[in-house]
């Protein structure tokens, strides 16, 4: 039997690392999807999920570094990754552009993440076979 044709996913992460399991479940799912020959069209960080994009996260060396693991995964598979601008600004996640606009002293979001609006979520949803929401379990 032939394997089924490849399909595509949009993944929305709404739980923060070190507070929920959402980023790790999403990563394991995304890796399995790609191993099976499917495509991940977009990773969209929303609500508390935007904390996954923080460049400043510095977990203890004997714990998984979820922000780093996600960055490596996104870069190695060249997956478009978006941090929702409204969620990010309220929660103190800024790229260089937003940092200048709000006259802050630095930035904690860089590539591979882009800060953008919900249009990215909607567009990737419309272009994907399935959109999955990785919410906190609490």
């Amino acid at each position: 039997m032939d394997s089924p044709p490849p399909q595509s996913f949009a993944l929305v992460i709404t739980g923060a690392p070190y507070s929920s399991q959402a980023p790790q479940t999403a990563l394991n799912f995304a890796e399995a999807a790609i191993r099976a020959g499917h495509k991940v069209n977009q990773v969209f960080l929303y609500g508390d999920g935007v904390h996954l994009a923080s460049n400043f996260a510095s977990p203890p060396s004997d714990e998984s570094d979820w922000p780093a693991l996600w960055r490596v995964f996104i870069e190695s598979h060249q997956i478009p990754a978006t941090c929702c601008v409204a969620s990010a600004l309220r929660r103190g996640l800024l790229d260089e552009t937003e940092s200048r606009r709000y006259e802050k002293t630095g930035a904690n979001v860089t590539a591979p993440y882009a800060i953008a609006g919900l249009g990215e979520w909607l567009e990737s949803t419309l272009n994907s076979s399935r959109t999955l929401y990785f919410n906190p379990d609490h």
Binding site: Y46, G47, L118, L122, T125, L126, Y133, N135
Partner: protein, 118 residues
């Protein structure tokens, strides 16, 4: 790409939690991009619909203006679960809102391709 129909479910209480606001933003965004989209308020989420809310008291913004303009924004409908209204003692929800009150929500979700909870 098949035609999509979005149902955004708000089941969390207002003000103590940002999820309700965030799912509203998604709903308005979907509608703004001309996607068929509706809202469902259920369980503790029906407390968003009580009349006489004064969120200034907790230094927050009201969403009732946004909700009352939902149809203008292109949302198809705002559904509410009757049982949840009864449970929370909401005899008459905010009269400024066009609500479709449902005795049962169990068949509603089947009419949408994308059911979104946060």
């Amino acid at each position: 790409m098949t035609d999509r129909r979005f149902l955004f479910v708000i089941d969390t209480a207002p003000y103590g939690h940002w999820k309700g606001r965030e799912i509203l933003d998604m709903a308005f965004s979907a509608a703004a991009f001309d996607q068929p989209a509706a809202l469902l308020f259920t369980h503790a989420g029906v407390n968003w619909l009580r009349s006489g809310q004064l969120p200034d008291a907790v230094q927050q913004k009201s969403v009732s203006k946004n909700l009352s303009a939902a149809m203008l924004f292109g949302l198809e409908a705002i559904y509410v679960c009757q049982e949840s209204l009864d449970h929370f003692g909401i005899g008459k929800p905010d009269p400024g809102l066009e609500l479709v009150v449902l005795a049962s929500t169990s068949d509603l979700e089947a009419r949408f391709t994308d059911v979104v909870r946060l």
